[in-house]
Amino acid sequence: MRYTRMISLGLLAGSGALTAAGGQVGSDSTVAEPADWAAPNWEAGAALVHAKSAAATALATELGRLQRDDPAALPQRLQSLTDDHTLTWPEREAAVLQFTRSLHELPRDQVSAMAIDLLSRWQPRTLVAHEEAPALGTPLFDIAATAQGLQNRWRREAAAESAKQLLGEDADRYLDGWLATGDPLLRAGWFDALQATTAAQRQGLLEQSLLRLQKAPQLAPLAAQMAIGLRDQAAMARLAFETDPLFLHPLLAALAVELDAAQLRVLLAQLIAQATPDRAALAIAAFSDTLAGDSGFERQLLALLDDPALGSSAALALGQRSSAAAQAELEALAASPAISLRSQRARFALDRIAEQTP
């Protein structure tokens, strides 16, 4: 797939669906050919002068008017810009970019889907020297990315509206829909929909999701969100073992606020004993502010110093904040003539303390 910039062949690049998830195109090794990138065709300063011209402003205004009064004509007008040689490309692209951004102010159902699709595939023409590689041309006006961001926002909004409808019906339907929605962007919309729910609805969702959690672990982030919102300590503590790693730190941070010191120490001990090291390590990080100076917590950390996986987490937590007593114990450990993992970690903690000392 040797890419050649199709400057003279048309306004828009590509014809397939955008690869919002990052352009996974399989394992065809022939894509490793170098790209024949275009050279710059405008000097940036000169292009900016054109971009500020009255003609650019007029075109932006024209596009805005078309959008308002005759949106069906908008795609054709956008495509016709390729041949509109009365304007320079900086003038045309500056206007199109300004117009694209202005679409963010409009409800999505008022914008021509075809127009936004065209904009999201905009093939840039005003190419200036890339600052990191001056021999290569790079677009001055990032029309496509702006349109793509708009499309994302609309997809999320649409997902939120769908989810709200289901929430109005019953919790199970919402949960079924959640499970059927694998796209992270759409799930963000489903999260957004929860903002409009009542406490009773959220409680119902939490209970239902916890009931289904064993068979549907994908519900864990949703349950965690509910539990945090409802400040349901028991549910939060359970989910600390079960939620998706991506949602773990916010959950643990919420737990650090909700639970008292004794409860946090117990939960931490359980995570250390039963959960994976990365989960327990995040708990140490999340709880260490709340438990700063807590002697029980410090004893837990000191006992962990020789743990192959968690010793560094303990050392860091002790190095960030620790009592004078804990520091004395660290110094004693570090002074041990026998070099051990425990003494090394104690030294790391002391190094960290020293770094923070003014």
Binding site: E33, P34, D36, L48, K52, E132, A144, R345
Partner: protein, 872 residues
Amino acid sequence: MRFRMRSMHRLTAVGLLLASSSPLLAQQRIVQWSEQSAISTTDNLLSLGYTVPIPVDTPLPFDGFRSYAGLHMRHQDLVATTGLLQAHAVGASRNNRTIWAYRIGDADTTTVWGLPEPATLTNAGIHAREWQTPEVATGMMELLTSKASDIGFYRYLLDNVNMTVIPVYNVDGFLQTQRYPRDSWLGTDPSNPTSSPRDGRMRRKNMLDVDEVMTTQADHLNGVDLNRNNPPYWATSASSSSASIQSIVHHGAFPHSEPEAQALVAAADLGPASQLRVYTDIHSFGRVLFWSRTSDQRLTDITESVLAGFSAHHQALPNGRHYAFPAQSRLDPFLGIGSTDELFAHQYQVPAWTLEVEPPGDPGFHPGEALCGANYGGVVENCHDGFILPDSQIRRVRENLSETMAAIFYRQAGPPAVTATRVFDQGTGALVYESEWSVRSNSEREQIVHQTQPLQLDRDYVLTHSYDKPMRWRVGDVQTSFPGVSAATTVTSNLAFVGSQALNLSSNNQRWPSQRGSGPERYSHYRDDTTSIDWRLPRDAVNDAAINGSVELTLRHSDTDLVGQALDANPATVARWQGGSWLDYENSSGSQSDSGGFDATVRMQVSDQQLGAPFVIVPGTSSAWYDTSRSGEGFVLEILSADTALAYFFTYNSAGEQDWYTMVGVIQGNRVIFSEVVRSSGGVFGPAFNPAAVVRTTVGSATFNFSSCDSGWMDWKIDGARGRMELSRLTTMLGLGCGTSNAVSGPGAGWSGSWYDPSHSGEGYVLEMLSTGGAIVYWFSYDPVGNRRWFFGTGELVDGNLVFSNLLSTRGPRFGAGYNPADLVVNPWGSLTLDLDCDNGRSDYASSEPGFGSGSLQLTHLTRIQSLACSD
């Protein structure tokens, strides 16, 4: 880093200002990055559309970004816990913080073959806001150090490549971004005030002339772009470099004016610099590979090929992404911006490049893909959101890029070379041909060839080739294509010629042995560094016409490594990096190249005669053996059964004092494979001997090969050093024949073997009853202070006892390659009498050497030579 977005948003802002949409756009203020999905032009928020990542003080990798404290703790802990990472303070930042570099791999800088290790240098965190990059660099350290128990690709890298990483180069700037993970100034950038966020989360430069308090506005733009502070193109670009300290591309006062830049040079010296073979500067974003072209066409071609390999590998990974890179035709070798990749390309003359981590930012480079934050569902209020990778993506990015960087290191470790070619007789397991390349210097290898018998037509053999690196890839235990490399490019080929006449060959059942060791079904150092194939020269018209009597066959062998690099066609000269390209990486014509070719250095005798089976080890192989050029040291070999042998190596240490080793091996045809050479220590001579104090330590391995009853060769590896010896028979034992030599019978033949006193386990006698009459004994023991010693002498049978009236001791030659037989000094030691029956006995000794005295031991017959019966 992606920079042009400043321009885009300037225009965006211009347009909006023209539309008079918001007075805030020109206002100087601190704005907050937020998740808020809707774009707002009326508040001080920059929407991402996804959660704003906040660094967490944790050392372990997770689905998010670690704080500097967490990353640094992780690095130091990997140093402490893995033994595969060495920390080096290479300099200090503007604010006097230590800049750390880490060497990944074993502690030495020598390959397992004794050559200087190739080096790589990877720099991350040069631009502070590019949080992806310290995570990727740390991911590399985590991946590689987690592979200590690997037996293939990764172990090869750890043993043979010196991989230096700077995980957080611009440490002051990085800390500033983490101090303010949500905040940036807007409206203050001199060039792009309305759209280019500065300082806080968007700080790029170092902290020259700026405090760490973001709200003090007057200095917040200051600093030096560390990727503009380097020769040879420092301050030469009007568009990409600036003399203004407030510019985001300020180049500094002079080349390498910044202490961070000097630290980078110090890190390169860890290679050392002369061994450097690739430099990578990790940035974000854009998902592109920028690189610096020089006027050296070979370096240019190699760099382009390296980047092609990177791109192909990464895209082929699960969830892989396409990294684009410009063709060399698009680059100007005389144009630069003062970047670090230019420094390394032009001055260090290595492939040097800028890895711009995702997301993509340019439709020209990634047509059809969502750009900037839109790639992750973001709303792209400002394309600088590309610097803020969502938490949800960093694990994949970190892990995948670490794997691909390892692939680059493997490639630049060097082209593959054959280290040994062997032919085994399938029927007997005997080694009939061996060509082994032994490193003689950093630039030369010596080919050592042994052939025990000409190859015969219509006889079944196993042909093996060993290489100096793993040549195939596995997922789990299944061999498969290396990511991004077509299976069609990794094919083994063997052709045979007599003169210019090609022979017909039958080759089938190629395999890559899964067990380490020595033999037709064993790999050498790393899994997949050795291939075996069933091989036969059929007796047909073509071969009959070409082979008359015994003639020389030339093998033309080709293969490629994991990434498709062909063999160094001439292993006699070591392929290495010099002056921007490979040196002594010969092609098939023997010319210097960067592409290699087929290896035609293997030549062996082939005969049209029926010669029968090759020599195999028999009980009569038991003997003392030595290298005639190394008088004064040698081996005593005992064949104990059809498949087990014992050997004693009597030799010297590096100081010229006596030393000895023991080994028990497996017999395969005409070979004995000693996978463990054992050094005993802790014993002392005489009554004070305590068997519980004896410690036996495996220090190496050895292989013996016999081409006939009276000759052979061996190689050893002890304490990392290597050596080889030709072997000549020194003795013939009573009662044992070999080949056409018949056994001579006589009394006491069954006494031959090893004897020891069970209360002195750790020392003992090795006795050979000789076919010429009398006996020879070796006593492997210690001196009174615990140094290993050995004494030997010949004796006579006197009244039923073996009397050795003149035991000798030696000293002088030094172990290994520097051995000089002229240094040998032989001294009398004392006398010994052995009173033996078949199973037990007694020894009485008296030493003339001070400190040894006299005494006796109660003996047990420890080992017996195969086929030597004993009757009282």
